[in-house]
């Protein structure tokens, strides 16, 4: 992954040396040409192409922003309705993610999801304890959303 990016940069500089011009447009064209060469020779790399991972990161960022807007809609609805109808509670959620940064990313994603807030991560890092605003109607929906988050994070890390 990092090796592929480095290779792409080296190809870019070779391109700039060949043209012997040192400005941004040449850099961008060289980078795109290097990317094309990497895509052509992709079967010599052991891992997947870094372009695919870039796409996964972009998808994750998009999910982040969408969830932030959705959760704000929920908060506005809960706070401004005349009668409080929330049913809070704490539930446990098993996670399959292993690395520290993946769990951190998942918990900030969950915190920005409608109606959920991570209260604690267990010592063995297998369980997240989550405070939910409305425990009965969201519980099922939330676990399905979380499967999509977990999958998106796994796509980035694989």
């Amino acid at each position: 992954m990092a090796f592929q990016l480095l290779l792409n940069l080296i190809l870019t500089f070779v391109w700039m040396f060949l043209y012997s011009s040192w400005d941004l447009p040449t850099f961008i064209i060289g980078f795109l040409v290097g990317m094309l060469i990497l895509i052509i020779v992709r079967r010599f790399f052991p891992g997947p192409l870094y372009v695919q991972k870039l796409y996964a990161v972009l998808k994750l960022t998009f999910i982040f922003l969408k969830e932030l807007v959705m959760s704000n809609m929920t908060v506005i609805k809960q706070v401004l309705q005349p009668k409080l109808s929330i049913k809070p509670g704490i539930f446990a959620l098993q996670t399959e993610l292993k690395a520290d940064w993946e769990i951190t990313l998942l918990s900030s994603l969950i915190t920005l999801t409608p109606g959920t807030l991570v209260v604690d991560v267990s010592d063995d890092q297998r369980t997240l304890y989550i405070h939910a605003m409305n425990i009965d109607d969201i519980d099922e929906a939330i676990s399905s959303i979380k499967n999509s988050f977990e999958k998106a994070i796994m796509e980035v890390s694989s």
Partner: protein, 124 residues
Amino acid sequence: MNENEIINTIVAILVLSGTFLSLVTTIGLFRLPDIYSRAHAASKSATLGVMLILLGALVYFYQDHGLDARLILGILFVFITSPVAGHLISRSAYYSGVQLWEHSVQDELKPVVEKKKKAAAEAE
């Protein structure tokens, strides 16, 4: 409608919705019953509210000063840090024994924390 008016309208929409979200956060802090539900309001609406206001400032100053990178960094930092802050506040509240609202439905963390506290007491 010329270009200037369009930009001004976008700025107005961004800043006004950011202000509205901050107002909703404040109302939520008063209305919601316990610290955990308040953390919901504080960690979500305040994040998006501040982000929208900063975005409005970014678009507004783009006309005469170009892109201000510090505002972009500010948006990024708020976005990264505020969910962590919400998590830390509610976690330390739970471990120092703040009770949930009495109408709360379930609490799966309680037995875990009690076990941990018992183990710590026996170790002493």
